[in-house]
């Protein structure tokens, strides 16, 4: 019997490296990762390094040169650096949890719609379009002003308002995958629908999922910070980057650090996660394939 592999002992095809590994070869992804990691460590480790408590009275308000502080005191006489070091954790955790909810729901709904097609597809996607028709900030504001700000509520509103966007992207990526023969092959074996969706389709949309995850995390950080800026936080005086900007913007000329520090942090964090997401999307679209980054 003939075989095609007899003459190809030396022919070993290298598998292309995984999407994540390829993405991290790009300069932009590396820079993004460094920025994001920096800010994430500030947010997570910061509270342990803070010289003062997050709501501790230190000196007269809006004073720049206070002994024992680097950036002076804020509008309430609290240490700016300590407030800054405390203020990232909540935003980050809320954003990550909200994004996880959005990703889980959005992916499930998107994959289900793509796989079932027909009426189920229409029903799911049109229902999500209703949610999508409200601007995300507006929707969150309405819900939070109705029920009062609580962390759980913020997580769910942000997560649920993110869901339709993720569902659309995932459905778009999956719609081509469900047409392929390996899906028919699984159906011919009588695999359950759940298994076909999660074990056959899902692994083939991971690149879109990674890109979308990063993008949505970036937006969620911004959204949750905006909500805090607008005063929607469970504790009115809790340290929170968004809230800090709001509190200290009045005294911008006398004590700029109270605004500069949280603004810079939020900017760098979103730029960082944004760059990572951009790196993933470039690699999955093949734009920079083979290049060394620019």
């Amino acid at each position: 019997m003939s075989s095609e592999n007899a003459g190809e002992a030396k022919f070993v095809d290298e598998r292309p490296p995984s999407l994540v590994r390829q993405a991290f070869r790009l300069r932009r992804t590396q820079i993004g990762a460094v920025l994001a990691l920096m800010l994430i460590s500030v947010a997570l480790i910061g509270p342990f390094l803070a010289p003062f408590g997050s709501t501790e009275y230190v000196d007269l308000p809006n004073t720049l040169s206070v002994p024992g502080t680097i950036f002076g005191t804020d509008y309430f006489g609290q240490d700016v650096l300590s407030r800054f070091l405390f203020g990232g954790r909540t935003i980050l955790i809320l954003a990550i949890l909200a994004t996880s909810i959005g990703i889980t729901l959005g992916t499930t709904l998107g994959l289900t719609a793509a796989y079932l097609r027909g009426r189920a597809d229409e029903a799911i996607m049109r229902a999500l379009d209703v949610v999508l028709s409200f601007p995300q900030v507006l929707l969150s504001l309405v819900v939070i002003s109705m029920f009062g700000p609580s962390n759980v509520l913020i997580i769910f509103t942000v997560g649920l308002s993110t869901t339709p966007r993720i569902a659309r992207i995932i459905r778009g990526a999956a719609i081509g995958v469900v047409e392929r023969d390996f899906i028919s092959a699984a159906e011919a074996l009588g695999e359950s629908r759940k298994r076909v969706v999660f074990a056959e389709v899902l692994p083939n949309v991971t690149s879109s999922l990674l890109v979308e995850m990063n993008l949505r995390l970036t937006y969620s950080v911004g959204l949750i910070a905006s909500l805090a800026f607008l005063g929607f936080t469970p504790e009115p005086n809790a340290a929170n980057w968004g809230l800090m900007i709001q509190e200290n913007r009045v005294a911008l000329t006398e004590q700029p650090w109270g605004v500069i520090l949280p603004t810079t942090a939020l900017a760098l964090l979103t730029i960082g996660t944004g760059l990572i997401g951009d790196g993933f999307s470039r690699v999955s679209a093949g734009i920079d394939r083979g290049g060394k980054g620019e």
Binding site: S3, G7, D13, S184, E187, A188, G290
Partner: protein, 592 residues
């Protein structure tokens, strides 16, 4: 007609820009005016690269390293980009493989034809151009009325679209035309029309045509000369009759031996190994690793073209030694005792959302036998096979497995029935989950059946051995394998549950002819060893003669003729079958 050269390619080499590796090298071809040169080779052999180079175009990441291409007296590679743009469609034109994607779906065909003429300032006035369009439409045997020219591409059939493509290509009276597999997606009867049109137009207008294809029978039917490419080099060229009657290069001999022919019951023979990609090609003759005549001298440098006699030349140091290449199959064709029915279809009708496309089909696939279901695209053959496999919801009638009635969908069927009928899909690039190792893919039917993963492992290794792949392949991913290897994996997955029935849906249509022969060989062996009942769905009539015991011909959702394959194809009774067979190009018939 003058015999001056219409197209002359001199010592052409194209490189991958990033690595400097050659994609094609040492290409020397001459096509006289009014003649068709068929450029054949497997996928990846560089034939399209050469074709595009004639248009002075190289794909992204590819560059011309050296060489000259003369279209008439004009050397096209040295032109600046403005001049290149002018000659394309004018002096030299191109007909791509897929007419559906090469015509703009948003523009009426009349307008698209007009654009070509305007771009090249052909004809002085709009009236002259309109007249030329009508003339062209008549030449490609399409209606010339205004209503027809007002149509959009999607309102035309595939064959009509391709003829519009031909009209566009011939519109400005080019002296050279490059046709890149223009009939690959077409049915045989449509293909016959298109080939006739091409032959007529090239002869009448003295055009030098470069016809790129992997289908030897089309070349035998259409072309005057042939050049065979392998791994980026031309290994043999000459007149059609010389090459097909007396192939000198071992690779050509294997190609001819692997091509099924409708004119005879021929056992087709595949060949081990595969051509290497640029940068991995061996020193010396690229075919040496697969060649049974290879000796040390072959591995030193690429052999020079030597004359074999007449106009035939071959790049092989043994071209003039008439050493027999072992291409004859030792396998005797099966002598049959009729098997028990495995799958029976009784008046099955099937459709999509209320439209019936399959009418009253009754078929019997017997144990140990191969039934070929043939028909043109849209005849309903795939719908029938999907209904058997439990992948089609809307059907009525009765499908029985060993006398047991089967439910419509696979999920509703008993697990034993699901495992007993296995489906092998057309496209091996789509039928394996790219995110899973092939070992996992193969083991899946066993896991569904309740076996443990570790228990399945040994069975996977056994079944890989059955399809002639080493056990190490279990850890590979589909993208590490060639098309033929993937199809072997797909077959292995189908075999792992020890099925009784194998439904093969166009399983070789995405594969090169040598690989196709090897897969057909494998399927034949498995059928004999395991006593499988096989339904082989295909549009490839010549192949049917080499593989099937029985054949059922389908047209417009109905079975028009059924019987032993030798009698149906050798002596068809129905008019439809007769026309199908006479439209199918054949090497043997063309060489008579």
């Amino acid at each position: 007609m003058s015999n001056a050269a219409g197209l002359r390619i001199v010592d052409l080499r194209l490189n991958v820009v990033a690595t400097g590796n050659d994609i094609v090298d040492e290409i020397n071809l001459t096509i006289e005016k009014g003649r068709v040169l068929g450029l054949v080779g497997e996928s990846g052999s560089g034939k399209t690269t050469v074709g595009l180079a004639v248009l002075s175009h190289a794909r992204r990441g590819v560059e011309v390293a050296h060489g000259q291409i003369f279209c008439g007296d004009t050397e096209v590679l040295g032109l600046d980009s403005e001049a290149k743009r002018k000659i394309r469609g004018g002096l030299v034109s191109y007909v791509p493989q897929d007419p559906a994607s090469s015509l703009n779906p948003a523009l009426r065909i009349g307008l698209q034809l007009l654009e070509v003429l305007e771009a090249h300032n052909f004809g002085g006035s709009d009236e002259a151009r309109k007249a030329r369009i009508k003339e062209m439409m008549a030449e490609v045997l399409l209606p010339t009325d205004d209503e027809y020219l007002e149509r959009y591409p999607h309102q035309l059939s595939g064959g009509q679209q391709q003829r519009v493509g031909l009209a566009m290509a011939f519109a400005c009276r080019p002296s050279v035309i490059v046709l890149d597999e223009p009939t690959t997606g077409l049915d045989v009867s449509t293909q016959e029309h298109v080939l006739k049109t091409i032959r007529q137009l090239t002869r009448d207008h003295g055009v030098a045509a470069l016809y790129i294809t992997h289908d030897l029978a089309v070349i035998a039917d259409l072309a005057d000369d042939v050049a065979v490419m392998y791994s980026g080099r031309v290994v043999e060229q000459g007149e059609v009759s010389e090459i097909f009657k007396n192939p000198a290069h071992p690779y050509t001999r294997h190609l001819v031996a692997a091509a099924p022919d409708i004119a005879s019951k021929k056992s087709i023979v595949g060949l081990a190994g595969r051509a290497q990609s640029p940068g991995k090609r061996p020193v010396g003759c690229a075919f040496a690793p697969r060649c049974e005549l290879a000796e040390d001298a072959c591995r030193v440098e690429f052999p020079k073209m030597v004359s074999v006699g007449g106009r035939q030349t071959a790049a092989c140091i043994k071209a003039n030694q008439k050493v027999a290449v072992s291409v004859a199959s030792s396998k005797a064709m099966s002598t049959r005792t009729r098997g028990e029915p495995a799958v029976e279809l009784v008046s099955v009708s099937a459709g999509y959302s209320g439209n019936t496309v399959v009418h009253d089909v009754s078929l019997t696939v017997r144990k140990g036998e191969c039934l070929a279901l043939v028909g043109e695209s849209g005849s309903g053959k795939t719908t029938v096979s999907r209904a058997i496999g439990g992948l089609h919801r809307e059907w009525t009638g009765s499908i029985r497995l060993n006398g047991r009635e089967l439910k419509p969908m696979a999920r509703q069927r008993a697990i034993a029935d699901r495992l007993a009928i296995q489906y092998v899909f057309q496209n091996p690039y789509g039928s394996l989950n790219p995110r899973r190792t092939v070992g996992d893919s193969i083991a899946r039917p066993l896991v569904v059946d309740g076996k443990s993963k570790s228990g399945a492992r040994q069975v996977v290794l056994d079944v890989l051995d059955k399809v002639s792949l080493p056990g190490s392949y279990a850890n590979k991913y589909p993208d590490q394998l060639s098309g033929g290897e993937r199809q072997r994996i797909a077959i292995a997955r189908a075999l792992v549950s020890e099925p009784e029935v194998l439904v093969c849906d166009e399983v070789t249509s995405a594969l090169d002819v040598l690989v196709q022969a090897a897969i057909v060989d494998l399927l034949g062996d498995l059928r004999r060893q395991l006593g499988l009942a096989m339904l082989f769905v295909t549009h490839n009539l010549p192949l049917v003669r080499s593989i099937a015991d029985e054949v059922a011909v389908m047209s417009e959702g109905r079975i028009v003729e059924v019987g032993p394959s030798e009698s149906v194809i050798g002596n068809p009774q129905q008019q439809y079958t007769q026309s199908l067979i006479s439209a199918t190009p054949s090497i043997e018939r063309s060489m008579r």
